[in-house]
C-alpha cells in the first residue's frame, strides 16, 4: 500500500504559540481524509507543512516517500489550496492558469486549461481580471489551478468555502476522481456538514495535537462555543 502523505512527530511554533505538536499521521493512496477542528486548532498550519510551504521545526514529512519543499519532483505531485485563493488578482483566469502551467512545466497547456475552465464553469469569464470575480468564482479558479498539473496528492484548506451548490457539485466530482487508485486527498473542514460524504476517514485536531479516534467527539457544538 502506497502512502501518499506521512507526517511523523511534526512540531511547529510561531513565537511562543505552538501551532502543531508532535503530529503523526498517514494518508494512504486511494483515500480521502478530512481534518476537522475548531478555528485556530492547527488545521491550516498542518496543511501548509504537508505541502512544504511551511517548514516544520522538528519531525519529518514525506509525500509519496519524498520530502516536499524546494524540490522539483515532489512539488509536481502536490496540488495545494490554501485558505485564500492563490490567484493573481490583476490577471485573468486564463492568464493565471497559463502562468501556473508554465511554472509547473506543462507543455502546451491550452487544451488542459480550456478543459478545466469548462469543468469549473468559468469558460465564459475566462478573460476577465480576477478582481472582478466573486469569492465563489475565485475559489473555483483556485480549484482549477490546484489540479492543473494533475497532482497525485490534493491538500485543500476548507475547499467548500464560498462555493455555491454548483461549485460544491464540481468539487464533489473532482474529489471522486481522487479517491481512487494512486491518488489521495487531505482536506480541512471546520463544519461537520461539508465534507462528510467526501471523506473516508476523519481526523480531529485540537490545539495543535491530533486526537486519537477514541478522543474524537461530535464536533457539531464547537461552532457555538467558540
Amino acid at each position: 500500500m502506497t502512502i501518499a502523505l506521512e507526517m511523523e512527530g511534526v512540531t511547529r511554533r510561531f513565537g511562543n504559540r505552538t501551532a502543531l505538536e508532535d503530529v503523526t499521521l498517514r494518508v494512504p493512496a486511494g483515500r480521502s481524509v478530512r481534518l476537522t477542528g475548531a478555528n485556530g486548532a492547527g488545521k491550516t498550519t498542518l496543511l501548509a507543512v504537508a505541502a512544504g510551504v511551511l517548514a516544520a521545526d522538528s519531525g519529518t514529512v514525506s509525500v509519496f516517500g519524498r520530502r516536499p519543499g524546494n524540490s522539483d519532483d515532489t512539488a509536481r505531485l502536490i496540488g495545494y489550496m490554501a485558505d485564500a485563493p492563490l490567484v493573481y488578482e490583476a490577471l485573468s483566469a486564463r492568464e493565471n492558469l497559463m502562468f501556473y502551467g508554465r511554472l509547473y512545466g506543462l507543455h502546451a497547456p491550452d487544451g488542459r486549461i480550456g478543459e478545466l475552465l469548462d469543468l469549473v464553469g468559468l469558460a465564459d469569464r475566462a478573460g476577465d481580471p480576477v478582481t472582478a470575480y466573486s469569492a465563489g468564482m475565485q475559489r473555483r479558479l483556485d480549484l482549477a489551478r490546484a489540479v492543473l498539473h494533475e497532482p497525485r496528492l490534493l491538500l485543500m484548506d476548507e475547499p467548500a468555502n464560498s462555493l455555491d451548490a454548483d461549485g460544491i457539485d464540481i468539487l464533489t466530482g473532482l474529489l471522486a476522481t481522487y479517491r481512487a487508485g494512486d491518488r489521495a486527498v487531505l482536506f480541512t473542514s471546520h463544519s461537520v456538514q461539508a465534507g462528510d460524504d467526501w471523506a473516508d476517514e476523519t481526523l480531529v485536531i485540537e490545539r495543535g495535537r491530533l486526537q486519537t479516534p477514541a478522543q474524537a467527539e461530535p464536533r457539531g457544538n464547537e461552532e457555538t462555543r467558540h
Partner: protein, 198 residues
C-alpha cells in the same frame, strides 16, 4: 518610479548653485541618489503582487527552486530600473550642464553593475521585511548602509567616465564593481531561501 527619479533630479538641480554645475561629481552623485530611491521603490514592489494577492504560497509550493524566484524578481526590478535610467540620465546631464566625453559603453557598464548590486541587495532585504508593516522606511534603513561601498564606487566611476572618459582608474573601479556584484550576488542567492519562507 520614473516620475520620482525625475522629480528628485529636478529638485536637486534647482537647489544647486549654478556656479557649481558642470561638476561631474555633483551630477553623478545626484543621479545615483535618484536611482537609489527609484531602485528601492522597484524592489519593494517586487513582492507587491504576492503580498496583495497573498500568492506567495503558490510560488513556494511550485516545482521551482527558491533561488529562481530570487533571480526572477531581480531581473524584473533591474529592467524597471534601466527604463527609469534611460530617461533620467539624459535629463540629469542636461540639467547639470554637462556633456559626456568618451564612449558610452563603459557608462552603460557602470549603470548595469551598479543597478545589479542595488537590486540584489534590495530584493533580498525586501523579502526580509515584506511581512512587516513599515516596509518602505525599514527597507531603506537596512539596505542603504549595505550599499555605501557600491554607491561610493559607482558615483566616482560615473563621474570620472563622464568628465574624462575611459581611464585606468575607471577601469579599476569597474572591476571593483564586478567583485561587489559577485560577492553580494552569491551571498544573496544562497541566503534567499532562508529569508523567503515563513
Amino acid at each position: 518610479m520614473a516620475v520620482l527619479a525625475l522629480v528628485l533630479v529636478t529638485v536637486f538641480g534647482l537647489m544647486t548653485d549654478p556656479q557649481v554645475r558642470g561638476s561631474s561629481e555633483l551630477a553623478s552623485g545626484v543621479m545615483w541618489l535618484a536611482f537609489v530611491f527609484a531602485g528601492l521603490l522597484a524592489v519593494e514592489r517586487a513582492f507587491a503582487s504576492e503580498k496583495d494577492s497573498r500568492t506567495l504560497p503558490g510560488l513556494l509550493v511550485a516545482p521551482i527552486p527558491r533561488q529562481t524566484v530570487f533571480t526572477a524578481k531581480c531581473l524584473s526590478s533591474v529592467t524597471l530600473l534601466l527604463v527609469v535610467q534611460a530617461f533620467t540620465v539624459p535629463i540629469a546631464l542636461a540639467l547639470f550642464e554637462f556633456s559626456l566625453s568618451g564612449p558610452p559603453l563603459p557608462l552603460l557598464a557602470v549603470l548595469l553593475l551598479g543597478d545589479a548590486a542595488l537590486v540584489i541587495l534590495g530584493t533580498l532585504t525586501s523579502a526580509m521585511v515584506a511581512p512587516t508593516r513599515a516596509c518602505g522606511p525599514l527597507l531603506a534603513v537596512l539596505v542603504l548602509p549595505l550599499l555605501i561601498p557600491v554607491l561610493l564606487v559607482t558615483t566616482a566611476c560615473t563621474g570620472e567616465l563622464a568628465a574624462i572618459g575611459w581611464t585606468d582608474r575607471a577601469g579599476h573601479l569597474l572591476l571593483l564593481l564586478v567583485v561587489f556584484d559577485a560577492v553580494f550576488g552569491a551571498a544573496a542567492y544562497l541566503l534567499f531561501p532562508y529569508v523567503i519562507e515563513s
